[in-house]
Structure formats: structure tokens, C-alpha cells
């Protein structure tokens, strides 16, 4: 089915499977993923889940590094407001997310590639929805190409 949604004019996208790096908190979203598994809910296999103790542990460096190392999207999952196991880690994640989101936009990263969601331990179905939705959105965008470090463009000299 990937072919159906692949945008025209991009060579590799026919076989393009997005890679999504997902940072899930130990107490809520990771358990939701567990629940989705034990409930045998099927969702896109494109996420690589990294379990962290708290969404507040997700350093913006992790997000940039994930993109730099080939992720096509980054998803952070944490506990709902007021539910953080550490009281306010998810609020810190929320604050960082909004500033980082704007910074990524300045760098030409489409907003669909970076997402923060509150998903509690009982919301396996919601986890499935979020993952599927994000995978489809990122698939439609195509692969993330980071700006080339440097191209020695000798032939492209200014005229």
C-alpha cells in the first residue's frame, strides 16, 4: 500500500518506508504500546521505540540527533497533564516541544515530522491511531534529507 500514498516525482518513495523514532515514557505511553501489543492491535511497524523514564527526559539533542542519523520523524509520548509520575516532567517536555518545534520549522523540518502526544497506559487504541496517522503523514512527505553538510561544488561557482 505504500505506493498508493507516495508523492509523485520522488524516486525512492515507491519503496519508502518512514523510520519514526519514538521516545515513550516508562509509565504511560510505553505501557500503552505494551497494551496495544497484548491486545493484538495492529499498527504500522515503522516506529523504533526508545523507552525513557519520563517524557521530560527527552533532551532536544536526542530529537536533533535522531533526525541527523536518519529518522524521518520523531514522536514523543508522555503521560497526560497532571499524571506525570514525576509530577512535572511532562510539562517540561511540553515547553521544550513548542520551542523546538518552532526551531525545527526554521530549519525547514515539516511540522508533521515532530510530534508530542499524551497517551496513558490504558490508551492502546489511541497509540495505534497516533502511530498510524504519523506514519502516513511522514510517508506522504517523503524521506527526511538533512541539509548536506557540505558539497564541494566547484562547478557551481557563481557566474
Amino acid at each position: 500500500m505504500p505506493e498508493a500514498t507516495a508523492p509523485v516525482g520522488q524516486n525512492q518513495t515507491a519503496a519508502f518506508e518512514p523510520k519514526i523514532v519514538a521516545f515513550f515514557c516508562n509509565w504511560c505511553t510505553y505501557l500503552a504500546a505494551d497494551l496495544a501489543g497484548t491486545s493484538r492491535l495492529r499498527y504500522a511497524p515503522n516506529v523504533r521505540v526508545v523507552r525513557v523514564m519520563c517524557s521530560g527526559r527527552v533532551d532536544p539533542q536526542f530529537v536533533l540527533e535522531a533526525f541527523a542519523q536518519g529518522a524521518d520523524g520523531v514522536l514523543i509520548g508522555g503521560c497526560h497533564p497532571n499524571d506525570c509520575h514525576y509530577q512535572e516532567g511532562n510539562y517540561k517536555a511540553l515547553r521544550r516541544y513548542h520551542l523546538l518545534r518552532r526551531m525545527l520549522e526554521q530549519m525547514g523540518v515539516e511540522p508533521e515530522r515532530f510530534r508530542l502526544e499524551w497517551i496513558s497506559a490504558s490508551e492502546g487504541e489511541r497509540l495505534r491511531q497516533v502511530v498510524n496517522e504519523m506514519v502516513e503523514q511522514v510517508r506522504a512527505l517523503g524521506p527526511f534529507r538533512k541539509s548536506e553538510q557540505f558539497e564541494p561544488a566547484e562547478e557551481a561557482v557563481a557566474r
Binding site: 533532551d59 532536544p60 527526511f144 548536506e148
Partner: protein, 324 residues
Amino acid sequence: MKPKLAFYWCASCGGCEEAVVDLAEKVLDVVAAVDIVFWPVALDFKRTDVEAMPDGSIAAAFINGAIRTSEQEEMAKLLRRKARIVVAFGACAQTGGVPGLANLYDRESLLRAVYSESPSTLNPEGTRPAPHYATNGAALELPVFWDRVRALGQVIPVDYSIPGCPPTPKLLADAVAALLTGSLPERGAVLAPDKALCEECPRRESKPDKLAITRFRRPHETLIETDRCLLAQGLLCLGPATRAGCEARCIQGNMPCTGCFGATSRVRDFGAKALSSIASLTGSNDEAEIIRILENIPDPVGTFYRYSLPAAPLPGKRPNRAGK
């Protein structure tokens, strides 16, 4: 024979040269102890003089500025061959510096802005700098303007870095002293204290244990108290994320830290970490309110990557998907 030193500048503003001159009378001690064999800003030696030197004959080359042109790259490589130690001197050489923010644009946009679109430009023939140009039988050459700005360490191996925009004369004097006495640390080290600026800030006593900023203020928007923590006054001060060693000069001038000393050794990417530390101080748990407060930081890249975009994991703006 006295050890030989070289100084060179690449894509820079001249401020780092100023730091050398600001050694003031100490410069005499330096000159007494070393031979400066190359320093275009002050001494009349040419590239051919450097080329004529045996490889490895210079004890240390202090290179400031980022790498933007073919000439800068050639000079960096030349000095790398001639010098036993290369020091990235200043923020531009270390991590790309302010010129590195140009990586938010490609070369074509930059040249178009400068040679066609800027309001003060009159250039009906659309003349652009050309690497080769013939006039009256003479062939002239200009360096090629690369598509990207790079830090020095992305072009040649660098042995040490001295941070700062510009570095302080003290750091330079200390580095030269360490060089002369053979007490330089392990290669790769940043020659400045490895702790955050807040730790040596003269206002640290007034920094609250828990900061909750409900309005970020820019320096012109408020009358800045001279003795209270700038973050406590809502000013965006990057002291918590920035390496110490600058003697808190901006703070003493009543201006917030903009992060020119870069990160400590525990941090890989300064911009992301600085963003993280500032964003988490936002004084609200309500999403709409958080968004509103953070809107007072209108330019996150320019704020947090002011000195280090080329060295970042995402070293600039991505090419537009639709076009180039």
C-alpha cells in the same frame, strides 16, 4: 631558537585579532618568547612565505573565522601542514560562529540578496563575483564562495579550541603559556574552564532556586537591574548552558549571555541544550499560555545557534523539497 607562531583569519569580523591586540603590554612577553612568522592583519608576510617554510616548522597556528571560501580552505590546509598544533581560535573557527547562520540560506539566495535585491544595491548588469575574470589581457582570480559555512574542524583536524566571540586575552595568554611550558592538556580539549557560566557569574547569589519566566524580555524592553540575575528579570540569558571562562563580561556590561563560549564537555550540541534549558524555565503548565510566552523568543535558531549552527546535528536549513 624561539618557537614560531602563526595567526590567520578566515570568515571572521576581526574581533579575534582584536583579542590578540588586547593582550596589551603582555603582547611584549609573547613576542619576547616566540617568533610570529605569519599574521596578515599586522605583519607583512605572504602566503608564499608560509609555503616556503618546512612542514611542521610552526609550533602553533591560531586560526580564527569559519570556512566559507576556497581560499580559506586552502590556507587552513596549508597552515595545518606547516604547524604542529592548530588552535581553532574563537567561536567561528570552533563551531561556525555568526557567519554560520548563513547556512539557513543557500549560496544562490545569499548572492541574490547581496548583489541584486538589497535596497542599496544598484547592479543592472547583474554582476556577480567571478572566480575567473580576464581584463586587458590580465587574468584575475577570486576565491570560490562555497555553498556552506563550515567550522575549522570540519575542514582540517584541529588540536585545541579557544572559545569566545572573541576569546578573552587571558585565555590566549594562558594558551601561549601552556604551549611554551609544554603543559597543554590532551589533544581535542577546549582551553577554557569546563563549567557553566552561572557558576562564575557575579550575580549567582540572586539566581532563584526555581525560575519561572512568564515573559521573556529583550534588553531594549526593560530597564535592567545591575545586580540581579538576568533570568530572574525575564531576560534570555544563556548562562546556564554556556561554558564559563569569559569573566562574565557581558553580564558585567549588564547584558545577557548569548552563548559565545559554547557548550561544556558534557553537552554535544549547544543549541539544542540551550533551548532545552531556557524552554523548561517557562512559567506555566498551560499549553496555550506556554505557546504565548515562548512567542517572545521570535528567532530560536538565531538565539540558540547564534555561534554554532554549522557544528549542529542539523547544520542548516534543509533544501526546499519542491525546488532546490
